[in-house]
C-alpha cells in the first residue's frame, strides 16, 4: 500500500507528460511514414509555438491568442516543408535529414535572438492551470485532462485517416510513394496535409506542456522532440496508436525514474540516494536501442519491405 502511495504521484505526472509527448510523436510518425524523414525540426516547432504564445498572450486576450498560436504554428510547419524539404525531394535521404537539422539550428538560434537567451514565462491559462486535488495529492488540472484530451484527439485523427479521402491518400502514399503518385495522388498536397496535422497537434501539445511546466527557452523543444521520436519508433513508426502508447510508456518511465531513489529509500530497499535520476533522459534511449536491436519494426509496426 505504501509503495502505491509513494509511486502514484509519479505515475500520474508521467501519464500527463506522456500525453504531451504523444501529441508531438504523432507528427513524427506521420511524416516519417510518408517521407521517411526524421523531422528534427519538429521539436523546435513545438518550442516556437510556446514562444509565440508568450508574446501573443502579452498583447491579446487568451481566447484570441490560443487559436492564433495554433494557426501560426501550422503555417510555420507548412512553410518549413515547402522551403526546406520540398526542394530536396529527389535528393538523397541524408541531405533532407541535414536540412532538417539545419532548420532546427535556425529555429533555435532565432529563438535565442528574439528572447535574448532568457527564460520566458508561459502565461497562465485559467481553469486548466488551476490547482486541484485527486487521490489526496495536489496537482494542476492540466495534469489530469491531458491524457483524456490526447486520446480524444487521437480518436478523431484515426477516424480522419480511415474515413476521408485525404486520409486514404495518406495511407496510400505511406504504403508506396511512387505507385500512389502514378495513381494520380497529388503527393505535395498529401505531404502538406501531413505537416499541417502534425504541427497542429504539436501546437496543442505545446499549450498543455508549457502550462504544466511554464518556462520556455530555445532548447525547450529538443529533448521532448527526441523523446517523442523515440516514442514513435518504439510504438512502430507509421502507426499512430503505437506512437501514443510508446509516448505514454516513455512519459511514465521517465517520471518514475526521477523519483526512483525516493521510492526505493522510502520503501527501505536502499538506504541512501544513488542518483538514478541522472538517467531519466538516457533511459529513453536505452529503450530505443533495445527495441531497434530486437524488434526494429516497433511494437505495432507493420513489416515493411524496407529492410531496417
Amino acid at each position: 500500500m505504501n509503495v502505491l502511495k509513494t509511486t502514484l504521484p509519479y505515475i500520474i505526472s508521467g501519464i500527463s507528460v506522456g500525453g504531451q509527448y504523444a501529441l508531438i510523436a504523432i507528427g513524427y510518425t506521420m511524416v516519417y511514414g510518408i517521407l521517411r524523414l526524421i523531422n528534427f525540426a519538429h521539436g523546435d516547432v513545438f518550442m516556437v509555438a510556446g514562444l509565440m504564445m508568450v508574446y501573443l498572450a502579452a498583447s491579446l486576450p487568451l481566447y484570441l491568442a490560443i487559436p492564433l498560436v495554433i494557426l501560426l504554428t501550422v503555417l510555420l510547419g507548412f512553410t518549413i516543408e515547402r522551403v526546406a524539404y520540398k526542394p530536396l525531394r529527389t535528393a538523397p535521404r541524408m541531405s533532407v535529414m541535414i536540412s532538417a537539422i539545419g532548420v532546427s539550428y535556425l529555429l533555435q538560434n532565432l529563438a535565442l535572438y528574439i528572447t535574448g537567451g532568457l527564460n520566458k514565462n508561459y502565461p497562465q491559462i485559467p481553469w486548466i492551470s488551476d490547482r486541484i486535488s485527486i487521490f489526496g495529492m495536489e496537482t494542476s488540472r492540466v495534469t489530469v485532462i491531458t491524457p483524456f484530451l490526447t486520446i480524444i484527439l487521437v480518436i478523431v485523427l484515426v477516424q480522419l485517416i480511415n474515413h476521408t479521402k485525404i486520409g486514404m491518400a495518406m495511407r496510400a502514399v505511406s504504403r508506396d510513394f511512387e505507385t500512389s503518385q502514378l495513381m494520380g495522388i497529388q503527393i505535395n498536397r498529401v505531404i502538406s496535409a501531413t505537416f499541417i496535422i502534425g504541427t497542429f497537434l504539436a501546437a496543442v501539445g505545446s499549450i498543455l506542456f508549457f502550462t504544466n511546466y511554464p518556462g520556455v527557452v530555445p532548447t525547450s523543444g529538443a529533448m521532448p522532440g527526441l523523446k517523442a521520436f523515440v516514442a514513435a519508433v518504439f510504438g512502430g513508426i507509421g502507426s499512430i496508436p503505437g506512437a501514443v502508447i510508446g509516448a505514454f510508456i516513455i512519459g511514465v518511465a521517465e517520471s518514475v525514474i526521477k523519483g526512483l531513489d525516493t521510492i526505493l529509500v522510502v520503501n527501505g530497499v536502499i538506504s541512501e540516494q544513488i542518483g538514478l535520476a541522472t538517467f531519466s533522459d538516457a533511459f529513453t534511449f536505452v529503450l530505443l536501442i533495445i527495441i531497434l536491436v530486437f524488434k526494429p519494426t516497433g511494437l505495432f509496426g507493420e513489416k515493411s519491405t524496407d529492410k531496417v
Partner: protein, 385 residues
C-alpha cells in the same frame, strides 16, 4: 557560385577588421565585463551588469597617474556555459582590457580563469562564491563571501530559526554554484539528515523533485539554483502544497523570485549581500536611473526592485577604478601587482582581499519574502564564529 560564397566570407572578414572606430579626445581605459547575458543565468548576469552601468553612468572617467581617462565597458557574453567562457574571456583580452569584472555564476569563472591567467589579466569576481574560483589562480580576486561561509550560515539558520531536522537539497547538475553551496550546506547540516539531488540541464519538470521532498519527510527545501529554475520551483511548490520553507542563497535575492512568489503560499528565506534601504541615497539614485532608462528597466525584470547582485556590480566597478588609480597605469600587469592591497568602502561594506584573493567578509543578511506585498523583509544579520 561556391567561389562567390567564399569571396563574400572573405570580404566580411576584411570589413570587420577595418571597422574599428576612432576614439574621443581623452585616452580610453577599457574594463571588461565578463557576464552571462543569455542562458540560465542570463537574467542574473544582466542585473549584475546594471550595477556596473549605473556606476559608469555616475563616474565615466578615472584619473590615472595625472591623466583623465574615459572608461569604456567592454562586454562579452559567456552565455552561462562553461565551454563558451574561455573564448568570451579571450575576446575581452584581445580587446585590450586592463582588468575584468565578473562573473555571476561560479562555473564560468572557473572555466575562464586559465585564460585570464595565461594572459596575465586580473579579474575581480563579483558574485561567484565557489572557493575554486580563486584557489590556485593568481589573477582571480572577488568581492563576495564564499560558499563554505554561506552554506554554514544557511544550515545554522535552517536548524535554529526554522527548526528543520531533515533537509532536501536540490542543485543543478554540473553547476558549480548550486553544487558547491549544497555541498557546504550538507557539511554543516549533517550528511545523514540531508537528501541531495541534482537535476540535469534543460529540466522542465520540477514537480517530481517537490514530490520527492514530500515523500522523504523533509522539513526544509534548500535549492540555491538559478532564478529561472527558481520561478518554476516556486510555482510547483505552490500548486503541490510543498508544506515546508524554501531556503536559498544570494542568487535568489532578485525581483524574479518576488514576482514568482507574490500571492502564493510559500515561505522563502535567502542569505544575501545587501539589504535594500541600508543606504537610502544610493537606493533612491539607482532607482531613479533604472526608471529613466527603458533598457535598464527591462534588464531588471520590468520594475525597480533592487537585486543584491546589482549593488555588488556597482561596488565592483568602483573597486576596479580604485585598482586603476593605485596602479597608476592601464597595464594589466601593473593592476595585478597592486590589486591585493587595494581596498574600498563600498555600499555593501568595506572591501579588501586576503592572500588568496577572497574578500574579507564575515556577515550575511537573511531576508524573507513577503508573499503578500512582494518585497523582502529583513530577518537578521548572520555571522559564523
Amino acid at each position: 557560385m561556391k567561389k562567390v560564397l567564399s569571396l563574400a566570407l572573405a570580404l566580411i572578414m576584411v570589413f570587420s577588421l577595418c571597422s574599428f572606430s576612432a576614439y574621443a579626445d581623452n585616452p580610453v581605459v577599457k574594463i571588461g565585463v565578463f557576464e552571462p547575458q543569455s542562458g540560465d543565468n542570463g537574467a542574473g548576469g544582466k542585473q549584475e551588469i546594471l550595477g556596473m552601468q549605473y556606476a559608469y553612468h555616475l563616474t565615466p572617467t578615472v584619473e590615472i597617474d595625472g591623466t583623465t581617462y574615459d572608461v569604456e565597458l567592454v562586454y562579452a557574453d559567456n552565455a552561462s556555459s562553461n565551454d563558451k567562457a574561455p573564448t568570451a574571456a579571450q575576446t575581452l583580452i584581445s580587446n585590450g582590457v586592463s582588468l575584468v569584472l565578473g562573473s555571476y555564476g561560479s562555473g564560468v569563472s572557473i572555466a575562464a580563469s586559465d585564460t585570464f591567467d595565461a594572459a596575465g589579466v586580473p579579474a575581480i569576481g563579483v558574485t561567484c562564491t565557489n572557493p575554486q574560483v580563486t584557489a590556485g589562480c593568481d589573477v582571480y580576486f572577488r568581492i563576495c563571501f564564499l560558499d563554505p561561509f554561506q552554506g554554514t550560515v544557511l544550515a545554522n539558520f535552517a536548524k535554529s530559526e526554522l527548526g528543520a531536522t531533515k533537509a532536501y537539497c536540490l542543485a543543478k547538475q554540473g553547476d558549480d554554484y548550486s553544487g558547491g553551496l549544497c555541498n557546504y550546506f550538507i557539511e554543516a547540516f549533517g550528511k545523514d539528515n540531508c537528501v541531495y539531488e541534482q537535476f540535469p540541464e534543460g529540466t522542465s519538470d520540477y514537480s517530481t523533485y517537490i514530490t520527492n521532498a514530500q515523500n522523504q519527510g523533509c522539513n526544509v527545501f534548500f535549492s540555491p539554483v538559478s532564478t529561472e529554475a527558481a520561478a518554476q520551483i516556486i510555482a510547483k511548490a505552490d500548486t503541490q502544497a510543498l508544506g515546508m520553507p524554501i531556503l536559498a542563497g544570494d542568487t535568489w535575492d532578485s525581483n524574479v523570485i518576488l514576482q514568482a512568489a507574490k500571492g502564493t503560499n510559500v515561505k522563502i528565506c535567502v542569505t544575501t549581500f545587501y539589504q535594500e534601504g541600508a543606504n537610502a541615497d544610493f537606493d533612491a539614485g539607482i532607482k531613479a536611473w533604472i526608471n529613466s532608462d527603458a533598457t535598464a528597466k527591462a534588464n531588471n525584470g520590468g520594475n525597480d526592485e533592487l537585486a543584491a547582485v546589482t549593488v555588488m556590480g556597482y561596488d565592483a566597478y568602483y573597486m576596479a577604478l580604485e585598482a586603476l588609480k593605485a596602479a597608476g597605469s592601464t597595464d594589466p600587469e601593473k593592476v595585478l601587482e597592486v590589486l591585493p592591497s587595494v581596498s574600498y568602502e563600498g555600499v555593501t561594506g568595506k572591501i579588501a582581499f586576503d592572500d588568496i584573493g577572497d574578500a574579507l567578509r564575515d556577515s550575511a543578511f537573511v531576508k524573507e519574502c513577503n508573499t503578500e506585498t512582494g518585497v523582502w523583509d529583513f530577518v537578521s544579520v548572520a555571522t559564523v564564529g
